[in-house]
Amino acid sequence: MNSPEHELPSAGCDLQRVQNFLNSDHYHLEDTDLIAHLDRCPECRKYLEAQAGDPLRWQQAQDLLQTNEFDHASSVEYSAATCCGMDASQTFAVKDVLDLLVPSEFPNHLGRLGTYEVTGVVGVGGMGVVLKAIDPSLDRVVALKVMSPRLANNENARKRFAREAKAAAAVLHPNVIPIHSVSSGSTLPFLVMSYIRGGSLQKRLDQEGALPLVEILRIGSQIAAGLAAAHEQGLIHRDIKPENILLEEGVERVTITDFGLARSVDDNTITQLGSIAGTPQYMSPEQASGEQLDQQSDLFSLGSLLYALCTGRPPYRDDTSYGVMRKIIDEAPTPIQKLSPETPIWLISIVEQLMAKKKEDRFASAKEVHTLLDACLSHVQQPLSNPIPSKLLSKQTSIAKKNRMKIIAGIGLAMVVMLLGIGQLRFNYLNSKTMEDHHVFKPLSELDGYIESMMNSKYEPIFLTLAGLGKDENYLSIFPTDGGVTIRYSAYDTSDYLNKPQAKYLTRLTAAANSMSLPVLERNDLKSDGTVKGINYELRIVGNPETIASSTKKLLTEIFQINQSAICGFRYLNMPGKYSTSKGQEPRKLSKEEFMHEFDSEKYVYMGEQETNIFLIPRDLALEMPVTLDSKILYTDVRKLNSEELKRIRSSMCLVQESSSNQEKNVPDDSPATPTAHSDDSNILGTWRVIFSEDSGRAAPLEALQDIRFVITKDKMIMESKGRKQESTYKLNPSTWPKSIDLTEDGRTKPGIYDLQGDTLRICTSETTDTRPSAFISQPDSVNDLVITMKRISSEKLPTEPTTQVD
C-alpha cells in the first residue's frame, strides 16, 4: 500500500490513488508518499484540485466564507461566521480602529486618539478594541477601550457603550478596574481605564491548570469583594469568567474588568428581552434560559469560575454553545472531588451553593461570599488561630462554640459503628409534589428535635430509611398524628416474613412497645385486588413533645439495639433508587468498571444495597466519622456485577472486621480482671484526636473537632484546642461495668464511664449531675451527657508538647 515515492513517476502518476486519497474519511494526511509526490508534481496537484471541486466551487468557497460587515455587527453571535472567520474579523476590527487614529508625531506610536498616544493593541472584545496608550497630561500608561466603528453608527450600541462606561465608572473598588474618563461624543467613542500589567486568569488557568487552594480562595474572595461593590451600585456584571479577571503582575491583586455587558438592574430598555449575551460556559441557568437577571446570576458565574480554579476546567463543556447552555440549565457538573479529590469539602460546598440552579438557594449576596471566602483564606493560612467559618459547619450545636468542651466522655468503636448507621438514617420529608427536593439528612441524635418540628409544622410523614430490611421493607415511617406521632413498620411479603432476618426488628419493636406499655396495632395493607400485600405494624405515641421525642428515640434505640451491639443492625443504609448525593448534585452512579476500579483501589468498602443499586463508601469515612450522606458515596447497578464480584464486595465490611479484631485483641468488656486495669492505666497515655463528639444529644460538626487534641499523662488529661488548654485530673476504675472514670476540674468531680479498645477511646460524662452514666449515649436535657470518641495519634507521653496538626 505505501509504495515508495519513486514508483509514482510523473509520467504515470497514480490518479486513482489521488482519487482515493481525496475520498478517504481520514483527515490526518496519512499518505505521506503521495503528499511527497504532490510536492513535486504540478499535474497531480491540478488533478487533485479538479477532483475536489470545479473552479466555480473553489470560487464559491472563497466568496461565501468571507466575513462580511454584518457578521459581527450583532450584539448576539449566532451566525456560523463567527466560528471560522474569527481571526480575520478581529483583524478587521483592529484595522478599522487604527485607520481612524490621527497620525502621531512619534514614529513608534500607532496614532493619536484625543490626547492619548496609542502605543499598542491590547486585545479585541465584544464591543471593540482595547488599545494601550500614554496619557501625556499625566504621563501614565492607560488602556483605551474603543468602540468598534461598525458599532459606533448604531444608536443602541452607542447607548450601551455609554452605559457601560457610566456603570463601570460608578464602581470605585480596588478589585474593579478603575475608569478614568469617558469620551462618548466623538466619532470613535472610548473610555479610559487603568492599564494593568499582567495576564488574565484564563491565561493562568491555561498555563497551570487547577490552582492551589490558597490562590483559589484569594482570587475568589477578591472577585466577590469587587462584585459586592458593583452590586451595591445596582449593577450586574453578567459576564464573570476567567478571561475578564486580570491578575496584576507582582501584586496579589485581582481586578474585574470588562463590564461590557454589565447593566443596571432597572435598565431594561436596551437589551432586548430574550437576547442572550455572555460567555456560555460561565453563564447562570437563568441567563442561559433568557430570564430576567439579578445579582444572583453573577454569583453562579463566580461559582463556575471557582469550579474551574479547583479543577482546571469549566464546569460545563459541549461542542456547541447551545449544548453548554442546555447542560447549565439541566445538569449538575462532574463533582469537583472526582476531578480534584484534594479539594476540601467545605470549599466544594461553597462552590455548590454558588452554583445552585435556583438562585434563592445561592448565597444572599456577594458580600457574604466575600466574607466567607476571606475567613476560609485565613483559616487555610493560619488554621490554629482562625477556625473554619461556622456557616460552613452544620447549624447544630458545636461544642467549641458553646465552649463546653470540658472533659468529656465518649464512645468507642461500638458507638462509631452505631453512629455510622445512625448517621445514615435518612429522613425524607415526603412531599407529594416534589419529593426529591426535600431530602433531609439527620443523625438519629437529632431525631427528637426533628419530630418536634414536624409536629409543629404539620408536615407530611418522615420516612426513616433503614438498611438491610430487604426488598419493599426499607423504612420505618413516622407520621404526625393528633397529639403525637405514629410509628409504622411495614412488613411485606408476609407469607414467610418471620423467617426472614429482618423479622428481628419486628420482634424488638414488639418487645420495646410492650416494655413501654404501648399497644402495637396490626393493619393489613391490601393490594388493589383485595389480597393482603403486607402488614403495617403501628405504634402511637402521645404526650408533650419531650415525651414523644424521648419515647421515639428509646424505641428506635431498642429496635436497632443501638447501645448494645458493637455491630450495628443497620450498619448500612437502604437508599432510594433515585437520590442526590448532596444538594444540587447528581448521584454518582458509576459504570461497573469504574465501580470495581474504585472498590479494588481499596479506598471504598461495601455500604449497602437497595433495589438494584449497590453502594460503596470511602473506607476512611466508614471507619472514622459519623457518616453523613455526601457525594463520596458511589453506586452502581447491582445487576451489572457478577456473583464473584458481588461476593467480594459484600464481604468487604471493614467495620465488622475491625470491631471483631479489636474484640479479639482485647480482654472482653465484661471482664473485670485487674490486668486490664493495669494496662488501661498505661494504654490511655498519649495524644488523641477527637473523631466524634456529642453533647446533649447533638453531634458536633467534624470541622469543630479537627483541631482538638487530648494529651493524657499519668494523672492529667489536657485538652488543647487552638492554643487553649484545659486541664483536669482523672482516675480510672476498670473494675466496674462499664468502666468508670472520674474527672476533676476546678475542684468539681464529674462521674463518667470509659472504654478503651486499642487506639480508640471513648468517654461519656455527666456534665450536670452526680449520676454516673450507664451507656455511651448522649441524651438531651435529661442527664446532659457529653460523649466523645478519640483516636490515638501518638503514644508519646509529652503533656507540654504543642499539638501537632494531623495532615
Binding site: 486519497f21 481525496l22 475520498n23 483527515y27 494526511l29 503528499i35 511527497a36 509526490h37 504532490l38 510536492d39 513535486r40 496537484r45 487533485l48 484540485e49 477532483q51 475536489a52 471541486g53 466551487r57 473553489w58 464559491q60 468557497a61 472563497q62 461565501l64 466564507l65 468571507q66 462580511n68 454584518f70 457578521d71 455587527a73 450583532s74 450584539s75 448576539v76 453571535e77 449566532y78 451566525s79 456560523a80 461566521a81 463567527t82 466560528c83 471560522c84 472567520g85 480575520a88 448604531n154 444608536e155 443602541n156 450600541a157 432586548q272 430574550g274 437576547s275 442572550i276 456560555p280 442561559a288 434560559s289 433568557g290 461542542d319 456547541t320 454553545s321 447551545y322 447552555m325 440549565i329
Partner: protein
C-alpha cells in the same frame, strides 16, 4: 455560536414530528442569521434586526400548522418556500407583517424585478450561511494546521507557496489539505440542504 435556546424551544413547540423538528432546528440555524443580515442590509439596527428575524421565524413556525404532508413534497422544501415568502414580505415591507400568504407572496415573487433581486439575495445568503456552518463543522474535524492551510489559501486568497512557508508545511501538504477540505465542505453543504448551482 449562540443559538437562543429559549426562542428555539418556543419556536419548536409548534412542530410535532421529531423528524420535522430536526429539520426545523436546522432551518432556524441557517435562516436566523440570513434574515438578520438581510434586515441589516436594509438599514435596520441590531436590536430591530434581531427582533425581525425572531418575528419572521415565529410566523413561519406558526404557519407550519398548516403543513399537510403531501406525496412528493418534503417538509424541508415546503418550509423553504414558506420562508422565502415570509422573509420577502418582512424585508421589503416596513409595515406590520400580515399572515403569510403562500400564493399571494409567490405571485409577487414571480413578478417584479425587485422581488427577483430579493429572491436571489435570499438564496445567496442561505447558501452562504450553509457554507459557513459547513465550514464550522469541518473546522472542528480537522487539525488546526489543516484548517489554516485552507483558510489562508482559499478564504484569504494567499498563494499555496506563501501558506506552505508561513505554516512550515510542504507544498504537497497544503494542496492535499485544501482540496480535501473543499471536498468535505461541499458534502456538508449538501447535507445542510444547500443548493447546487
Amino acid at each position: 455560536m449562540t443559538e437562543f435556546p429559549n426562542t428555539k424551544s418556543l419556536l419548536i413547540a409548534n412542530i410535532q414530528s421529531p423528524e420535522n423538528r430536526e429539520a426545523w432546528a436546522e432551518f432556524v440555524q441557517i435562516y436566523r442569521p440570513v434574515i438578520y443580515r438581510m434586515a441589516r442590509r436594509r438599514g435596520m439596527q441590531d436590536a430591530d434586526a434581531q427582533d425581525l428575524s425572531q418575528d419572521v421565524l415565529m410566523r413561519i413556525s406558526k404557519s407550519i400548522e398548516t403543513w399537510v404532508p403531501q406525496e412528493g413534497v418534503r417538509f424541508r422544501h415546503w418550509l423553504r418556500k414558506v420562508a422565502s415568502n415570509a422573509i420577502f414580505t418582512a424585508v421589503t415591507k416596513s409595515k406590520p407583517l400580515g399572515i403569510v400568504n403562500d400564493s399571494a407572496a409567490e405571485q409577487i415573487l414571480a413578478e417584479t424585478p425587485e422581488t427577483s433581486a430579493v429572491a436571489s439575495e435570499l438564496q445567496d445568503e442561505c447558501l452562504r450561511e450553509q457554507y459557513l456552518r459547513a465550514a464550522a463543522i469541518v473546522k472542528q474535524d480537522v487539525s488546526p494546521a489543516t484548517w489554516a492551510a485552507f483558510e489562508q489559501t482559499v478564504i484569504q486568497g494567499h498563494s499555496c507557496e506563501d501558506a506552505a512557508e508561513s505554516l512550515g508545511k510542504s507544498l504537497g501538504t497544503i494542496y492535499a489539505a485544501r482540496s480535501r477540505i473543499l471536498k468535505r465542505l461541499q458534502i456538508e453543504v449538501q447535507r445542510l440542504g444547500g443548493d447546487t448551482r
